[in-house]
Symmetry: none
């Protein structure tokens, strides 16, 4: 689709050098930690003001005395998760917040699911999101979720497959049950990569398609595709007599990319305080320490207090703004913001030197899904300055001193506010 | 304290690929059309508020009830035509609006003039903007416009040249008369490119300079320059006895770059509803269908209504804001905005799913010409949200949710608002 013969003004090489230089520069300027940094993500926080809702967003409609108090001493702005108009999944949304260019580090869904189940992946592992299904006698998918079998059944079937299919040639096969009919398969071997097409017809009435490399030229992906076919050959017969879970589908088949560790990149000891598997998985992808055992935002903030001395950077994830945005439930999303606000004073008992509160993307109620709208961000530190905004809202953030910027730069602003970025040049 | 040794994360080559990837990513995410997209360009719309005019811009001074009503349900922002401080011509200004990086796709004035006259250029054609002039007996230019001869004279002279100079070697020569003393020459051959320096002293009292390649190293440009010299050698004697048009000047000599077609790039059937040749030419450059036969903005909007079902994307161009800005005529520019506003309800009878109203650049009255000031943009859709701005103005747009962004991304935002861009990543 690209342009044809006209030569770009800046040569490919020059452009590449320019890009590389910025990352290298940040690394070079990065100083040792001083103080604590906290990134608090209200998933899907951003929204849009529509006529139907009286021209306010859930964040604007919410009663948020604690955020309001904080906003008086904070800078605000809006962040592009990736690039104008692009709606990110949770993976790219969070990687950007962690300071990794989501285009540079693409992570397939299978990898994220595996990480979310607590599997310790290695760079090069190929992972697939899988689930049991029901096949008829001709191999046609007649129920893509196998009647949503119980988790206990799923665990038994995964144990069965695990015990019988441990290796395929030199490649190790690791299977782990998830919730309900879901599980994950990891292939640990050499010389493989994703992405592959799905072993899933995506609707009932069709057979399970054979997977193919997305990039037909990739030798590594061909090897991975061959292995998935071998796995089906070995595993499907083992389920032949099961009811209703006599088959399985595989999606999002991809390899774990080699992502630099957060601690190496920023010289910060990072901790993840999330509840949902996917976000723990995303944190693990950049080698954050996952803290466990909390079930509410209040408990998450308490955990932060307890672990305050042990880490330099805390990633605290709050799911419900996204969940209710996906439902299109304005009142519930507003209430989720209020619940968050009510718990916020716990965090502030030991206020981090740098506190960023934002979303990984917007999930507008009117869209009932992720969107491309820049998410609002609030940045608070002794050096953030005040944008003189009485509240933290999308509309206010439009006029904030941070302006509109790519989310991958947030961590650089946090570093700067922690005085962890040295001066450039004399 | 410095970091130091950290190796760059990604190799030079990989980074270059990443850059390319953003365009590729947009292509990959582009979905089939749903609904109509309209780009309405008030040429040179942006302006600056000066003390002399009571600190308002023409857009702010204008009475615009229809734009005001629209703005309540719209997002706003400001767009950099190209990069900070760069004042674009109409070519780069519009190419950016069509989503093409103006640095990547450079189009010479000769090419634009040829397209504006309805000539069907091919990639690689070299085109020159030309006009008849008066030379004295020594070949000195004594009237750069040959007394502004009538169009009919111009047409006769062009026919004369066309009949005598059809080919130069293997290269085809195509000549077309414009208005008054103006015409266009196209050289259609192989292995040529622009840009060349002008065959125009740009003032009277000097001879016509010999053209030279702008890039002295370009073999293709040398060939083109040689051809222009041959053309002068063949054509000038044919005019020897004419009065006053016994010579001609050539400017903006350039080749047509190979630009990907709009429809291929965005999966949208595009139509151009412009009045002035240059804008039709620019639309043709990306292979939009040019609709003809309208003379006023009201007629242009009527035409949009009539063609509503036949296209997915409408480019509607309004010239007068730029024209009066160039004149430095504040009152007339304000009136042009009001005329536009009065016609707007015609368009809104069949409101497009996504409507963008903006300029291709600013033409501030105080500058009497194009400028580098970011133009304001209004974006309206069911998902644009409201920035709670009561009016569409430069000052209001500064606080819009779209922020300040490069104009080439506008179409991506339009695609997103039409739900024509798929989600990226899981």
């Amino acid at each position: 689709m690209r342009g044809g013969s006209e030569a770009p003004l800046v040569s490919t090489l020059e452009k590449a050098e320019l890009n590389m230089n910025l990352d290298a520069l940040y690394s070079e300027l990065t100083l040792k930690p001083s103080g604590k940094l906290a990134l608090v993500v209200l998933d899907g926080l951003g929204d849009v003001a529509t006529r139907e809702q009286g021209f306010v967003t859930p964040l604007e409609a919410a009663v948020t005395p604690n955020l309001d108090a904080l906003s008086k001493d904070s800078a605000q702005g809006r962040m592009l998760p990736l690039a104008p108009g692009i709606t990110p999944g949770s993976g790219p949304g969070h990687l950007a917040l962690f300071g990794y260019d989501p285009l540079e580090y693409q992570v397939g869904r299978g990898v994220i699911e595996a990480l979310g189940l607590g599997m310790e992946l290695k760079a090069g592992d190929v992972a697939a999101r899988a689930n049991f299904c029901t096949l008829d006698e001709r191999g046609i998918v007649i129920d893509r979720r196998a009647g949503r079998i119980e988790t206990s059944v799923c665990e038994r079937l995964c144990a069965l497959l695990s015990s019988k299919v441990k290796k395929l040639g030199e490649t190790e096969v690791i299977i782990k049950a998830g919730k309900g009919h879901r599980f994950v398969v990891v292939f640990r071997g050499k010389g493989m990569e994703g992405p592959l097409t799905d072993a899933d017809p995506h609707r009932e009435g069709f057979a399970i398609p054979t997977v193919q490399p997305v990039n037909a030229k990739s030798v590594k992906a061909k090897k991975a595709a061959k292995l998935v076919a071998e796995f089906y050959k070995a595993a499907l017969p083992l389920l032949g007599k099961e009811k209703p879970a006599n088959g399985f589908l595989m999606r999002g088949i991809a390899h774990q990319p080699d992502i630099p560790k957060f601690q190496d990149r920023y010289k910060l000891r990072p901790a993840c305080i999330a509840i949902y598997p996917m976000y723990k998985g995303l944190a693990q992808l950049v080698a954050m320490t996952k803290l466990e055992g909390h079930q509410t935002i209040a408990e998450q903030f308490e955990r932060y207090l307890a672990e305050y001395d042990n880490y330099d950077y805390f990633f605290i994830h709050f799911k419900y703004t996204d969940m209710y945005g996906e439902d299109g439930n304005f009142a519930a999303k507003r209430k989720a913001v209020e619940d968050f606000d009510a718990a916020l004073p716990i965090l502030l008992r030991k206020k981090p030197e740098v506190l960023a509160i934002t979303g990984d993307h917007s999930t507008p109620c009117v869209i009932k899904g992720h969107s491309w709208h820049p998410q609002p961000v609030l940045l608070h530190s002794a050096y953030s300055g005040s944008d003189k905004l009485e509240r933290f809202t999308e509309t206010g953030a439009n006029c904030g001193s941070l302006g509109l910027f790519e989310a991958k730069y947030l961590i650089r602003l946090m570093q700067a506010n922690a005085k962890m970025l040295d001066k450039f040049g004399a």
